[in-house]
């Protein structure tokens, strides 16, 4: 065994826990307005000051919902205003989305034309009314027309887990809040000049997100995913299925011990 110095004890303590008063005085002395001194060898100051804006909200939580948000990474660097287009699963969707949309988008739900002109984003529900049978309805071309007129992309979004809710669910002390999954898709740039054509592309994209959401992304790419039921009781049944936590083990443990 080594013989360690018997006096080698202590240290590693960071010093005073109250640093604010000292720092305020030191900064005022050293860097007060008008007193800042630049070292002689320092390069010229630059106005370029990029900072990272974390656009992710992987697990937003409203008091009465347990919301998971996925797909925001597809919108990294999206600095322009956008038109957010979502399926209308329930009457609470505007409240839900209002909580999870990136704040830097400055989203409005009314006054779309004025909002887009002033650099704000807009949230629209092209189906008009919440679905009554769990299926995706026809889309009004208004979102596409706005996109073409203002040259802003459309971001498709799907909401799953809120079907049939006309009002916010009651608060519960049991901890079992309704789970909602909000999925963002890749932005769709305005192309062509026919809003009817563009809105069909958007609708297909929303439908594809719903299909992916209900099953398996890679399978939907391969074209072998089970289609989401579009009619009858099965559509309603599918719309009411509980939402899994994204990337969860609820289907199968990833590192299951054999």
């Amino acid at each position: 065994m080594r013989t360690l110095a018997s006096w080698a004890r202590g240290g590693g303590r960071p010093g005073s826990r109250l640093t604010l008063p000292t720092d305020v005085r030191a900064l005022a002395r050293g860097w007060g307005v008008g007193k800042r001194r630049v070292p002689l060898g320092a390069p010229a100051q630059s106005d370029a000051r990029p900072t990272h804006v974390d656009i992710e909200a992987p697990h937003a939580r409203l008091p009465r919902f347990d919301i998971d948000v996925v797909g925001l990474e597809l919108l990294a660097g999206q600095a322009r205003p956008v038109i957010v287009v979502a399926n209308h699963a329930s009457g609470v969707d505007p409240t839900l989305l209002g909580q999870v949309l990136p704040t830097q988008w400055l989203v409005r739900t009314s006054g779309a034309t004025l909002a887009l002109r002033s650099g704000r984003s807009v949230l629209l529900f092209p189906e008009g009314e919440p679905t009554t049978d769990g299926t995706l309805g026809e889309f009004s071309p208004r979102a596409a027309a706005l996109s073409l007129r203002h040259g802003v992309p459309i971001v498709p979004v799907t909401i799953r887990g809120s079907y049939g809710m006309d009002a916010l669910p009651p608060r519960t002390s049991s901890g079992a809040l309704p789970r909602v999954l909000v999925r963002f898709g890749a932005p769709i740039e305005p192309t062509g000049d026919n809003p009817d054509v563009l809105i069909e592309i958007v609708r297909d994209s929303v439908q594809a997100l719903l299909t992916e959401d209900a099953g398996n992304w890679y399978a939907s790419l391969r074209g072998v995913a089970e289609p989401v039921p579009v009619t009858g009781w099965r559509a309603v049944w599918a719309a009411q299925e509980p939402v899994e936590r994204p990337g969860s083990r609820e289907r199968r443990r990833i590192w299951g011990r054999d």
């Binding site: 065994m1 080594r2 360690l4 110095a5 080698a8 202590g10 240290g11 590693g12 303590r13 960071p14 005073s16 826990r17 109250l18 640093t19 604010l20 720092d23 305020v24 030191a26 900064l27 050293g30 860097w31 307005v33 001194r37 630049v38 070292p39 002689l40 060898g41 320092a42 390069p43 630059s46 370029a48 000051r49 990029p50 900072t51 990272h52 804006v53 974390d54 656009i55 992710e56 996925v70 797909g71 925001l72 990474e73 990294a76 660097g77 992916e212 398996n216 992304w217 890679y218 790419l221 391969r222 994204p246 990337g247 969860s248 083990r249 289907r251 199968r252 990833i254 590192w255 011990r257």
Partner: protein, 507 residues
């Protein structure tokens, strides 16, 4: 326009400069003539999708990936080193890389797909960690079909690959059975590469042989060559620029004389918060901290050509012209080093980063001359995660009191630790690091430390420093006082500002 890094020579006009010490921040006044190496400004973070698509369509040294994919094949996508970079990426570029590969695979009709994390001796990732890196879509797609895998280097099911110098090399069975392995890496330092990621697919005995006490570039190259001879590979590599921090802590990436009032307030507030917050809150703060990383370039194709290309791109982007080798080198340890979320813990990790890793990021010479002194800022708190790094605590308590010499440690302790069933259980099923990782990192630390006359830690726990064969000083001035016995009282000093990560070009 982003400015490149530069070296400041401290003069009378230079105020105290920011120093990070584990989880603590302070302002330190450096002596006149001290060279302080600053990294470049951050660049805006854009959309890497077009770069990835171009790399896949026009690869280096191979056919386009789409041409190599076909129905009926077994495809494995390999990712690794999920602990890098630090701070973690806010939007991990590997998601884009993996998803674009999968889009091509789907179009080609490939059904047999696996995503394999080549963690080697590092801990197997949790669901959340894997989701952070490859994204929820990929995890959902493959978790339920058994297509999400990680490596257990102790698994007896590994397949015999061949023999090198009498040593048997064994490979993960999924890779051995694959028609094509797409190797996805990010270049953010010199310590990770696509080649090392292939080595991480081998068994524990091979990892010890190639990366342990007698590691050499020849052994590593031989293993890589054998793996590549056994399975076709396509490498996809993204070079990352300097991290761009969130606005609340952006002062960490700005030059002190350019701090605005809000930066000064942010510094004072952050310093106070870190001084009083509980350790668990601080650990959560650092693990949640995410940065944006601009993608400098993406290359795909043959591993050696891709690595050469992206390594050059990365090095040229982050290189800073520095001074000749100094008598004293000064390193901050905060965002890198620890195997845990809490940067103030894991003294072995802090030592490995400051002594072995950071000073090696030098081109054309050395940061510190042989016989010089290295000064590190870190508390060296004797704290280790009992779940992910319990071997670190035992290494500190049992191995280092006996010896710091790598040869003695290898002969006396390594085999016992590496075959201990408890550590094996933690590694295989509880997201713990394999004990050999701690041993290998110590060997590298000890080898690097031997080139210095002394290593002195400012503000460090004296017992921890003593155990590792280093010195502790209460203040920076005291550290230089200790160093003066080796380098005199007017040494040349080079400080690596911030958490390091730049490449220093010395004349």
């Amino acid at each position: 326009m982003s400015r490149p890094g530069f070296t400041l020579d401290v003069d009378e006009r230079t105020q105290p400069l920011l120093v990070a010490q584990g989880t603590r921040l302070r302002l330190e006044r450096f002596g006149l003539g001290t060279h302080v190496v600053y990294p470049g400004d951050g660049r805006p973070v854009g959309d890497p999708t077009p770069l990835v698509a171009a790399a896949l369509a026009s690869p280096l040294g191979t056919a386009p990936l789409a041409a190599q994919l076909h129905a009926g094949m077994a495809l494995t996508i390999v990712i690794g080193d999920l602990g890098s970079p630090r701070p973690r990426m806010g939007s991990d570029v590997r998601r884009h890389l993996v998803e674009q590969v999968l889009v091509l695979a789907a179009a080609a009709g490939v059904d047999d797909v696996a995503v394999l994390c080549a963690n080697g001796l590092a801990k197997r990732p949790s669901d959340a960690e894997l989701t952070d890196v490859v994204g929820e879509r990929v995890v959902r797609s493959f978790a339920s079909t058994g297509g999400l895998l990680s490596t257990d280097a102790t698994d007896p099911a590994y397949v015999d690959l061949g023999v090198i110098d009498g040593h048997e090399i064994r490979l993960h069975p999924r890779i051995a059975a694959s028609d094509l392995a797409v190797n996805i890496v990010v270049t953010s330092s010199w310590s990770t590469s696509a080649g090392l990621q292939l080595v991480a697919l081998t068994d524990v005995a091979t990892l010890d042989w190639a990366l342990g006490l007698e590691t050499s570039s020849d052994r590593v190259s031989a293993v890589i060559g054998l793996v590549e001879a056994s399975v076709a590979t396509f490498t996809l590599d993204a070079a990352l620029g300097e991290p761009v921090l969130p606005d609340a802590v952006s002062f960490l990436g700005r030059r002190e004389w350019e701090w605005r009032v809000r930066d000064q307030v942010a510094f004072a507030t952050a310093r106070q918060a870190l001084a009083v917050a509980p350790k668990q809150a601080i650990a959560r703060l650092f693990s949640d901290l995410a940065a944006g990383y601009p993608v400098l370039g993406v290359a795909g194709g043959a591993r050696d050509q891709v690595h050469a290309s992206m390594s050059t791109v990365w090095t040229n982007a982050v290189a800073v012209q520095g001074p000749p080798a100094s008598d004293v080198g000064v390193v901050n340890v905060w965002r890198k080093g620890s195997l845990h979320a809490d940067p103030a813990s894991d003294p072995l990790g802090a030592a490995h980063h400051a002594v072995a890793e950071q000073p090696s990021l030098v081109e054309g010479g050395q940061l510190v001359r042989p016989g010089g002194v290295l000064v590190g800022f870190h508390p060296l708190s004797n704290r280790f995660s009992s779940r992910t790094n319990s071997v670190g605590a035992d290494f500190f308590a049992e191995v280092l009191p006996a010896s710091t010499d790598p040869t003695e440690i290898r002969a006396t302790f390594q085999d016992r630790f590496s075959t201990d069933p408890w550590y094996g259980e933690l590694y295989r099923g509880r997201h713990g690091h394999h004990p050999l990782l701690t041993f290998h990192r110590w060997y590298a630390t000890a080898r690097a430390a031997a080139t210095y006359a002394d290593v002195v830690w400012v503000g460090a726990d004296r017992r921890s420093a003593e155990l590792m064969g280093f010195r502790a000083a209460s203040t920076y001035a005291d550290a230089l006082e200790i160093a003066s016995g080796h380098v005199g009282r007017t040494p040349s000093i080079t400080v690596l500002h911030g958490g390091g990560g730049s490449v220093v070009r010395v004349p």
